[in-house]
């Protein structure tokens, strides 16, 4: 589904990713762990097409298509979703209107009919229960006045509604209490299927107790320096990132 080959990227002329390789097959859940500054968020942002990030070398194929030449909205329509680390507040753009516009843009791209208002509301209600968000939130501006945890749950809610093929979670767990963490994990676990893949980017291992990955990769200095199964996350938690840096140095 996703093939990243020798990816070099950075921002404002500063190199951050230095030859990253990663392949994610349909149905797999991958976790990328790493210390601050290792390039985790850069990877998420490059994949989602955030402006200002520059790719200097390498390629990214999504279902065989060159992802890097698509604008952000087309990546989303192809089925890539980024749950953001810092979701922005957009007062004046109604949450529900926004989500419907997004949903219909994606459906149109897939050659599907737009959902009518009733079908859409049913879907929204069903998914909202999963993330335990109150319906009153939907009539506010996008993320307007949401707490940090509510913003993260809103990301997972949007993911659940838009049903992406590849969901990228950029430190969705940071700053969450244990209940919110469980809710986020449930949302992602509901998405899991043989057709859906997930890339979880995190600093800590605790989300991975609820959201068990098939593969764990350790990122350091812009490259994957170690890969393994879920037990690697536990090992990292015990030994700390210094252990990795000492080992690869």
């Amino acid at each position: 589904m996703l093939e990243i080959k020798n990816l070099h990227a950075g921002i404002d002329g500063k190199a951050i990713l230095n030859g990253l390789d990663l392949t994610i097959n349909p149905g797999e859940v991958h976790a990328i762990m790493g210390p601050n500054g290792s390039g985790k968020s850069t990877l998420a942002n490059v994949l989602a097409g955030r402006p200002r990030y520059e790719v200097t070398q390498g390629e990214v194929l999504f279902e065989g298509k060159n992802l890097l030449e698509l604008p952000a909205e087309e990546r989303a329509r192809e089925g890539v979703f980024l749950a953001m680390q810092y979701p922005v507040e957009i007062p004046g753009v109604n949450n529900i209107y926004f989500l419907k516009a997004a949903m219909n843009a994606i459906r149109k791209h897939r050659g599907e009919e737009e959902l009518d208002a009733i079908e859409f509301l049913q879907l929204v209600r069903e998914k909202m229960k999963v993330v335990e968000l109150d319906e009153a939130f939907m009539n506010r501006g996008v993320n307007e006045g949401f707490s940090g945890g509510e913003k993260k749950r809103n990301e997972i809610f949007q993911m659940a509604v838009l049903d992406p093929k590849l969901a990228i979670l950029d430190e969705t767990d940071s700053g969450l209490d244990i209940d919110a963490l469980r809710i986020v994990a449930t949302g992602v676990n509901n998405l899991r299927s043989e057709h859906h893949s997930v890339l979880v980017i995190t600093h800590y291992q605790r989300l991975l107790r609820y959201l068990v990955p098939d593969f764990v990769h350790v990122l350091a200095n812009g490259r994957i320096v170690k890969s393994g199964g879920k037990e690697l996350a536990e090992e990292l938690e015990q030994k700390g990132y210094d252990w990795i840096e000492e080992n690869v140095a």
Partner: protein, 388 residues
């Protein structure tokens, strides 16, 4: 000779003395009426009846329609005038040539249900009109009045509205300028408030080639409060000039002013807002803000909020901002699959909608939302990709 005839003649003389405003005058430094001045305007003596999609009669309005300055019934003679025709040339021009317009008198204590809609339709090239609205709201009375200006062709509307709000009166006033893009529009609103009167006046400027809207508020009784809300959205080569003067004459009055501008392509917007606090106006509260969104490299806005304070027992603040569409919200919307053009339009609309959302009359909100959706321009193809 009747009083009105005398007034017209005096005003005509006054206009002859003052002449057309030019950018040499401080209050007109951003706006040049030369393109208006050079036309040999004429009055439409017998306007044909006209329909307009802007009619709100089916939405519960009590509606009066004026075509090229003429109403269905001739207006009653003008009784009083608080409009300053002696110093303001365009008001003098209106007074000398004034036509029909609303004469509304709400008796003391009366609460008017629903809202009154004054619909002004301009039609045809080379026609000017000088509507004059006189609204007197009695003590403790309450009313909502909406003025809408629409039309087709290259005409010129020079309108004056006078609102006097008696003690404790509550007035919700709307002025919606959706003139033809070839038309010229000068509007003057004069508001005088007695003790405890509460007036909200909202000015929306969407249409017109050259537009100048002035709102003058006199807080003439203790404890009066006024809210001025404004929104101007320009594209092409539109020129939209807003001038407001809030005069705190008596103590314990409050004024709140919030104007927003959205300028695209080669449009130019002006906000020139002045708050005067007189020596007797202790305990004045005043807040004034002007926020602008520029959508192109060539759009211009001049923002000039001014405070003139003559006593030291006041709380006043003012500010203005001029910015562009922010990249973070734009990326957020795009990252969910919404195309760049639509995402931009959503953000522009969101910026403008704040003013609309505060309006109390639902059919008016609906109408302005529709007008905004049409006015918020489609992005130029060559500008696509700049955010990538």
């Amino acid at each position: 000779m009747s009083a009105v005839t005398t007034l017209r003649e005096e005003a005509a003389e006054r206009f002859a003395t003052l002449g057309w405003p030019t950018p040499r005058i401080e209050e007109w430094r951003y706006t040049n009426l030369a393109p208006v001045q050079k036309v040999a305007w004429r009055v439409d003596e017998a306007p044909a009846a006209a329909d307009s999609p802007a009619s709100l009669v089916e939405k519960g309005a009590t509606e009066y329609v004026f075509v090229n300055g003429r109403g269905l019934k001739p207006a009653a003679p003008l009784e009083t005038t608080i409009a300053d025709w002696e110093r303001n040339a365009m008001v003098a021009l209106n007074t000398a040539n004034m036509q029909d317009g609303a004469r509304i008198e709400i008796p003391a204590g009366q609460i008017v249900d629903g809202f009154i809609h004054l619909l002004f339709i301009g039609k045809g090239d080379g026609i000017w009109s000088h509507p004059r609205n006189v609204i007197a709201v009695g003590a403790n009375a309450q009313v909502a009045i909406v003025e809408t200006y629409v039309g087709s062709g290259s005409y010129f509307t020079n309108a004056v509205t006078e609102i006097s709000a008696g003690e404790g009166a509550v007035v919700d006033h709307y002025r919606i300028e959706c003139e033809s893009l070839e038309a010229f529009h000068v509007g003057n609103v004069f508001i005088r408030q007695e003790r405890g009167a509460n007036v909200t006046s909202r000015s929306i400027a969407i249409g017109g080639a050259i537009v100048r809207n002035e709102t003058h508020v006199a807080l003439a009784g203790e404890g009066a409060s006024v809210t001025l809300d404004g929104l101007y959205t320009g594209t092409g080569t539109q020129h939209l000039d807003n001038r407001t003067v809030i005069d705190h004459i008596k103590p314990h009055c409050e004024s709140l002013e919030r104007y927003k501008g959205v300028l695209d392509q080669n449009a130019r917007g002006v906000f020139d807002g002045k708050v005067i606090v007189r020596p007797d106006a202790q305990k004045t509260l005043s807040r004034q803000e002007n926020r602008n969104l520029l959508l192109s490299e060539t759009a211009i806005v001049d923002s000039k909020p001014t405070l003139e304070i003559h006593n030291d027992d006041v709380k006043c603040n003012h500010g203005s901002t001029i910015g562009q569409i922010e990249q973070e919200p734009l990326f957020y919307l795009r990252s969910r699959g919404i195309g760049e053009d639509e995402a931009r339009n959503l953000l522009v609309y969101a910026f403008a909608a704040e003013v609309v959302d505060r309006m109390k009359i639902e059919p008016v909100r609906e109408q302005i939302r529709r007008a905004l959706f049409q006015a918020i321009p489609q992005r130029l193809p060559e500008r696509r990709g700049e955010a990538r």
